[in-house]
């Protein structure tokens, strides 16, 4: 009897401890444990995938490094958790991770009912289709896909857009739904489906993983808006601010021409905008007001480079994907990336 009573109490206490782990002050928690826990994709080239040395690389990964650099002044103080599309929100809600940076589309439902807050859009994407042109030589538009079997990952906006697109165009299709990205890729490569659908950036990445990449073509139609960005738990404005302004700092650094190579030299610049950005203005309080050190932008740029550098290194010309900047260019160059002023 006594033993049972003690174990019941023990179990209750253990659950109580777990519940209190997801407290509302993420910044203090992160500082106390000494690293940022970041939820990323298990393997999407260009966004988050381990390289041949076993290090995580990609836009989403670099963004987490930038946040770690802002908080600790050291971009390596970050740990990554690979998550499937299905597990990602639960992981964030339960406090298992501090930031979700996993090519996640910003939607109103996720922002409200799921208890998340999106901090910005690190990549403007749209959903597309890929087919095997060897097996389907006549197909050059998504509108010809009526009756096709389509591989898709479950629990994504992709799955919903797919249903809407085929319904709107009065076409039939046969969804083959997988929980894991890798399973969907393998099934498409094995010929289980006629077409594969995900965000266009993802299609280019998946194409490289196919047994014969040159046989696969990405169809021209973009059927949805997919603004991908990092998110945090609701109810912690301070942490949201840090994540949000890390993103804006990356954009402002690019706009001001501050790069990984010239950041130390730029600290001595006479330009008041750059001085303010890099915290070399006298008596500045910008960084400390945010809850980090005043040279936070210098730390970020040293760790990862500015937004443009992150983009080119991971998905742009410096990567196998070779995706053009397009709408992800800065607003000054006709794109949508617009960093709010740091002043």
């Amino acid at each position: 009897m006594k033993h049972i009573a003690i174990s019941v109490l023990g179990a209750a206490a253990a659950i109580g401890l777990m519940a209190s782990a997801a407290s509302a002050d993420t910044l203090s928690d992160v500082k106390a444990k000494g690293f940022v826990q970041c939820g990323v994709n298990t393997g999407l080239a260009g966004f988050s995938a381990p390289n041949d040395k076993g290090e995580w690389t990609g836009i989403d990964v670099d963004f987490c490094r930038a946040v770690a650099a802002a908080v600790f002044g050291d971009g390596t103080k970050v740990k990554f958790t690979g998550l499937s599309a299905k597990d990602r929100f639960t992981a964030l809600q339960s406090g298992e991770i501090d930031i979700l940076s996993r090519n996640t589309t910003w939607t109103i439902n996720r922002d409200t009912a799921l208890g998340l807050n999106f901090a910005g859009v690190t990549y403007y994407d749209g959903q597309g289709f890929m087919i095997n042109s060897k097996k389907l030589p006549g197909v050059n538009s998504a509108l010809q896909l009526s009756g096709a079997a389509i591989c898709v990952q479950s629990g994504t906006t992709t799955e919903l857009n797919l249903a809407d697109y085929f319904k709107a165009n009065k076409m039939e299709y046969n969804p083959v739904v997988f929980e894991k990205f890798e399973e969907a890729n393998a099934a498409y490569d094995a010929g289980r489906c006629d077409a594969y659908t995900t965000d266009q950036s993802g299609l280019y990445a998946v194409r490289l993983q196919m047994s014969s990449p040159n046989d696969h073509v990405v169809l021209p139609e973009i059927i949805s808006k997919e603004p991908l960005g990092p998110s945090v738990r609701q109810g912690d404005d301070k942490w949201l601010d840090i994540v949000k302004w890390t993103y804006f700092a990356l954009l402002n650094a690019e706009e001001a021409g501050v790069t990984q190579a010239n950041v130390d030299e730029m600290k001595n610049s006479d330009n008041p905008d750059i001085k303010r950005l890099l915290g070399s203005e006298a008596e500045t309080k910008i960084g400390t007001d945010l809850g980090v050190s005043n040279d936070w932008v210098v730390n970020i740029v040293k760790a990862t480079g500015n937004y443009g550098e992150i983009f080119e290194r991971n998905v742009g010309q410096g990567s196998p994907l070779k995706i053009a900047r397009g709408i992800n260019a800065l607003w000054t160059k006709g794109g949508l990336q617009y960093g709010m002023p740091i002043r």
Binding site: M1, I4, A5, V8, L9, A11, A12, I15, G16, A19, A22, A24, A85, K86, R88, F89, T90, Q93, N109, R110, T112, A113, L114, G115, K135, L136, Q144, L145, S146, G147, A148, A149, S154, G155, T156, E159, L160, L162, A163, D164, F166, K167, Y173, N174, P175, V176, V177, F178, E179, E183, A184, A186, A187, A190, G191, R192, D194, R233, Q234, G235
Partner: protein
């Protein structure tokens, strides 16, 4: 005398603290109170935390539009249907794979189990190899073996294997012709029902006659003629109402006919063959568990070994077989949730999608628990009823 001594030793006059009965009840009350308190605390803590993180709660989301499609479905469903209906589709898919799996596993299991006791060396050893191979591999591996190792290697749609009766086999599954029931088809069904009823009547009469006069009647052939003949009669009377819809090559897939998808096939085959290996051992144990005297007794009565097995050994073996068989049926049903690895839309896969689209983790997990518990309890009740029916009736 003795009674008086006993009365004096009665502890009721002493402190209640030392009364084992009172003490037992007190401890149980304390335990239940702690348990209720613990559960209440967990529930309250969950609700407070969910509210604090602005996550909506409750089961109202089940009425919302699902927005996603499901390929395998027993009932009408589209992206405009509700989440609740999507869950029903998933529950039905789980039920289909569980029931068909249980039937096949039982048949294969009985055959292999009897085979292990065969006098034929080859059959005995083959059955043994089968059992040892399948029961020593994790079920997930067996599923992936069928999905990626067998079905994915079939040719693509354009080079489908053509099978008899207009059926095709390719890496999109198994396609076979479908009956299209026209007006007057009810006559066929009526014929079938009439055939079954008449056969039952004939069998009863034949049994009664054999008991009375000892004369035998060819019940099997008469029943077969009735069960096949009556629907045929209905078919002709109804003016040949049935036509066939054959699978044909469309732009991408074969269209028309019925398509059994590779996801279902691999899950069904894997679960059936995996569970069959356990059932085979249970059957073997059941048969071996019948005392040898019974075998000798039926031989002494002049029954052939087939008859003896059917009339004497198996009925007794069933009493040993049924209880562990129930556990295997429950295992098979629960293992069907491994479908998620190959994209078969069972309850677990669809529930997972709903969980992710709505973020209602706790609610969906509660539904999982209730449904699997419900299916399992239903199976148990059914099997317990069957067990009582098969139990030794002493006359």
């Amino acid at each position: 005398m003795a009674q008086e001594v006993y009365h004096e030793a009665e502890p009721a006059k002493a402190s209640l603290l030392y009364d084992p009965k009172v003490r037992g009840i007190a401890f149980q009350v304390i335990l239940i109170a702690l348990l209720v308190l613990g559960i209440w605390w967990i529930v309250d803590n969950t609700i407070v935390n969910l509210r604090r993180s602005n996550i909506s709660t409750g089961f109202g989301f089940l009425r919302g539009r699902s927005g996603f499609d499901i390929s395998d479905r027993m009932i009408d469903y589209g992206s405009d249907s509700s989440y609740g209906r999507a869950l029903v589709v998933g529950i039905l898919n789980t039920a289909v794979v569980a029931i068909s799996g249980i039937i096949t596993a039982t048949i294969v299991g009985f055959l292999v189990g009897v085979g292990r006791l065969s006098n034929n060396w080859l059959i005995r050893k083959l059955a043994m190899v089968y059992v040892e191979v399948f029961r020593n591999i994790p079920p997930l591996l067996v599923i992936l073996f069928w999905y990626q190792g067998v079905l994915a290697l079939l040719p693509n749609v354009r080079d489908s294997f053509a099978l008899p009766f207009g059926s095709f086999l390719n890496n999109r599954g198994f396609y076979f012709p479908r009956f299209v029931w026209g007006d007057g088809s009810w006559l066929i069904l009526a014929g079938l029902l009439a055939g079954i009823l008449l056969s039952w009547y004939v069998a009863r009469r034949a049994y009664a006659r054999q008991m009375a006069t000892g004369q035998r009647f060819p019940v099997f052939w008469t029943s077969l003629a009735l069960i096949v003949g009556m629907p045929l009669l209905g078919y002709f009377l109804g003016g040949l109402p049935v036509s066939m819809d054959f699978p044909q090559k469309g732009t991408f897939n074969l269209t028309g006919g019925t398509n059994v998808k590779p996801e279902f096939l691999s899950l069904f085959l894997a679960l059936s063959f995996y569970t069959a290996s356990f059932i085979a051992e249970i059957v073997r144990a059941g048969i071996v568990g019948v005392p040898k005297g019974q075998t000798e007794a039926y031989s002494a009565l002049g029954l052939r070994s087939g008859q003896g097995l059917r009339l004497v050994v198996i009925p007794q073996a069933m009493r040993i077989i049924i209880p562990p068989l129930t556990s295997q049926y429950l295992n098979l049903t629960k293992n069907s949730s491994l479908a998620v690895a190959i994209g078969y839309p069972d309850l677990y896969a669809i529930g997972g999608t709903i969980l992710n689209q709505t973020g209602q983790a706790i609610e969906v997990v509660v539904i999982f628990g209730i449904v699997y518990l419900g299916i399992s309890i239903f199976t148990s009740v059914l099997m317990n009823w069957f067990n009582t029916k098969m139990a030794l009736k002493e006359r």
